[in-house]
């Protein structure tokens, strides 16, 4: 169950790239790890490390001025591709609390919302401006989820839209399964009673291929 989120305050780091797929966020070889925790060290692994495990220079989140960043300003189509929720777990384990982009991969966006990683969609122009401002490593943002605002260190405030159910769940840190079972268990049962029998798989014993 995610921790409730009200306000996120932190340094922003610009990720100057469109179409960042979840294979880049965390490569497949690290999907063999059966835990959510500790994946931060594999975040953007191929962008940060050479084949022999040595560090590649120049990756933004490894730069001294961005090491403490907790807000990522990306491009468009962030998190497209594979459904791996490990991408969200790796970002969060690394210390990222919010990603701002002009669009997100659908599955990534939902996965993030289930774990308390706040994804914010803004118009492309606004995202670009924020990325520019963040370049120097001195851009601090205050994201107020209840108010749906992002306040820049200079005082300027940007309003963002977010699905009400995601907002509610994040603000309260609710567990989806408990909500569903407490509110809708009877409806689910009723639905199941009406299911036609041909929908229930009945494996045949003898099959001639």
């Amino acid at each position: 169950m995610p921790e409730p989120i009200r306000v996120i305050h932190g340094k922003a780091a610009p990720l100057e790239a469109d179409d960042v797929d979840t294979d880049q966020i965390i490569p497949a070889e690290f999907l063999k790890i059966i835990e959510k925790k500790g994946l931060g060290k594999y975040l953007f692994y191929r962008w940060r490390y050479n084949e022999d495990g040595s560090k590649k220079p120049g990756f933004i989140l490894d730069e001294p001025e961005f090491r403490d960043a907790s807000i990522l300003i990306a491009g468009k189509n962030f998190g497209i591709g594979s459904s791996r929720e490990n991408a969200v777990w790796a970002l969060m384990d690394f210390g990222i609390k919010s990603v701002i982009a002009s669009s997100f991969g659908d599955i990534f966006y939902v996965n993030a919302s289930k774990n308390g990683l706040l994804c914010i969609r803004l118009p492309q122009e606004k995202v670009r401006n924020l990325r520019e401002l963040a370049r120097g490593g001195r851009l601090y943002l205050t994201i107020d989820l209840s108010e749906q605002t992002i306040t820049i260190s200079t005082g300027e405030s940007i309003r963002f839209e977010i699905e009400q159910h995601i907002k509610e769940r994040l603000v309260k840190g609710l567990d989806d399964i408990s909500i569903t079972l407490s509110l809708y268990d009877d409806e689910i049962k009723k639905f199941e009673e009406k299911m036609p029998s041909f929908l229930i798989p009945k494996p045949k014993r003898f099959i001639i291929e």
């Binding site: 294979d23 191929r46 594979s82 459904s83 929720e85 809708y184």
Partner: protein, 484 residues
């Protein structure tokens, strides 16, 4: 009000709807595999929750299984641990498992349709983005994350925002040597990697109807690479014949009842879409991806583009990165690109008809010296069917490796992977950086194009190659009615 097939299935499964448009949808089938399920099962265990409908849940080992002889144990300890975890979790919850040694093991999106687990009109989810594949049979199928998977385990339902509707109408005849893979690469090139985000894509039109069920699966499979929430195609007689007699498909009176219902699953003629595209497929030539996402694709007669061709700065940067990663120069003709490895496999293109497409090009020819070429059938069933009709011999005689089924080099979680710098003609679905192995370079192509590249050692227009006559093999393959 006129409705699309997606709306009919959606509305038939809504249990509750909230004011903000979120719907609680009942899930008829939950397919799961060893990689995205362990955390979900662990969370269930922590909260002492059970899988609500083990009879509607099916598990398979596919992502990290080795594709070599099954008599050997899995040596990668982490992979073996994930496989053991799935076996333990399936046993604990009473879920049917197709394990490493099952005669029905295979890639989850291949075995679902072939075993009749996937049916028209059902809702289906799986913790894997390529779940859109199942839409080819008229199922409403969503790729989901691990938390959502846990929710489905516990409640047999999922909360979803109603997606928008997109129609992609495919018209015209395909040229000889051009396949569904080329069509979907072409469509993604035109709409972009994010072009279908938030939409359920319905493929319609003359060509879609003419395509085989397996080709339709290729179309739906890769719609996720255009960002689609999922894809769907109206089920027809072809789908019914494909399913009839399958191990988990209904039979007897239930079959009749099911077909009656399935036949009603049509998009009303005046139904509306939020977006519509029409493609004339007769103009499509064999496609080859040159970059690091599937939209970075061009025709076989084309060439590698230059960053200068793009106005947008971010696009320019991306193309620069792509060319640097792929080791390609602007202006290089696609047919001048040499390849090291050929991979015929994956949930996109490892069904029997895909293998026959490749075999037509391979028969009587030899894999170019220095090229490593492998065929990884999509399932044990496909492997056996292929061997029964002698298809494997065509590949083996030409110098291909004939492997056991699994996701293999599409995701490189097992030992099948590219070495740094190696260039691969691959029938898989993603050419992302390092996807097929660290430093590996992927070019996405159709099975026939991959086969042709294996023979020539470079990309070549498959339309120039005279395909072998495999009429007898094709006849014996019973592609349209595998279970009759």
């Amino acid at each position: 009000m006129a409705k699309t097939i997606f709306e009919k299935i959606w509305e038939g499964h809504v249990i509750a709807e909230r004011e903000d448009g979120q719907a609680l949808l009942y899930i008829d089938r939950h397919l799961t595999h060893e990689v995205t399920s362990p955390v979900a099962f662990e969370e269930l265990r922590e909260k002492s929750r059970k899988v609500r409908r083990p009879d509607l849940t099916f598990a398979v080992m596919d992502h990290n299984v080795p594709t070599t002889d099954r008599s050997h144990p899995v040596t990668d300890e982490l992979s073996a641990a994930q496989m053991r975890a799935l076996a333990r979790n399936a046993a604990e919850h009473g879920i049917t498992l197709f394990d490493y040694h099952s005669p029905w093991q295979g890639i989850v999106h291949v075995i679902g349709p072939e075993l009749g687990l996937t049916l028209p009109g059902i809702t289906l989810v799986c913790g894997d983005s390529h779940t859109s594949t199942h839409g080819a049979l008229g199922a409403l199928a969503f790729g989901i994350g691990t938390s959502e998977g846990e929710h489905v385990f516990a409640t047999q339902t999922i909360w979803l925002k109603r997606p928008k509707k997109m129609e992609i109408r495919l018209e015209g005849n395909l040229q000889r040597g051009v396949s569904a893979k080329d069509v979907i690469l072409y469509v993604i090139k035109h709409l972009g990697t994010g072009g279908m985000i938030g939409h359920v894509v319905e493929f319609t039109g003359e060509l879609t109807r003419r395509l085989s069920v397996e080709s339709r699966m290729t179309l739906c499979n890769m719609s996720i690479e255009g960002g689609a929430r999922t894809a769907i195609i109206e089920p027809d007689e072809k789908v019914f014949r494909y399913l009839r007699g399958a191990p988990y498909a209904p039979d007897g009176e239930e079959w009749e009842e099911a077909v009656k219902y399935w036949s009603s699953l049509k998009t009303d003629s005046s139904a509306e879409y939020d977006a519509r595209y029409v493609f004339d497929a007769s103009r499509i030539e064999p496609q080859v991806s040159w970059g690091i996402n599937p939209a970075m694709t061009t025709g076989i007669t084309g060439e590698v583009p230059s960053p200068e061709d793009y106005d947008d700065r971010a696009q320019r940067l991306l193309v620069e990165r792509a060319l640097s990663y792929m080791g390609l120069r602007p202006g290089t003709k696609i047919t001048e690109i040499p390849i090291d490895v050929v991979f015929i496999g994956s949930c996109t293109n490892a069904r029997l008809s895909d293998l026959i497409d490749a075999a037509r090009i391979v028969k009587g020819r030899r894999v170019k010296q220095g090229v490593r070429a492998m065929v990884v059938p999509g399932s044990m069933l496909i492997k056996r069917r292929a061997e029964r009709i002698g298809l494997h011999r065509i590949f083996i005689e030409a110098g291909f490796e004939w492997r056991y089924p699994g996701c293999s080099m599409c995701i490189a979680m097992n030992p099948d992977r590219l070495r740094p710098g190696e260039r691969c003609a691959s029938t898989s679905n993603r050419n992302f950086e390092n996807r097929q192995g660290p430093g590996g370079r992927t070019h996405l192509v159709s099975p026939a194009m991959a086969a042709a590249a294996a023979i020539e050692g470079r990309f070549i227009d498959v339309r120039e190659i005279e395909p072998a006559d495999l009429c007898e093999i094709e006849h014996n393959a019973r592609l349209e009615e595998p279970w009759r």
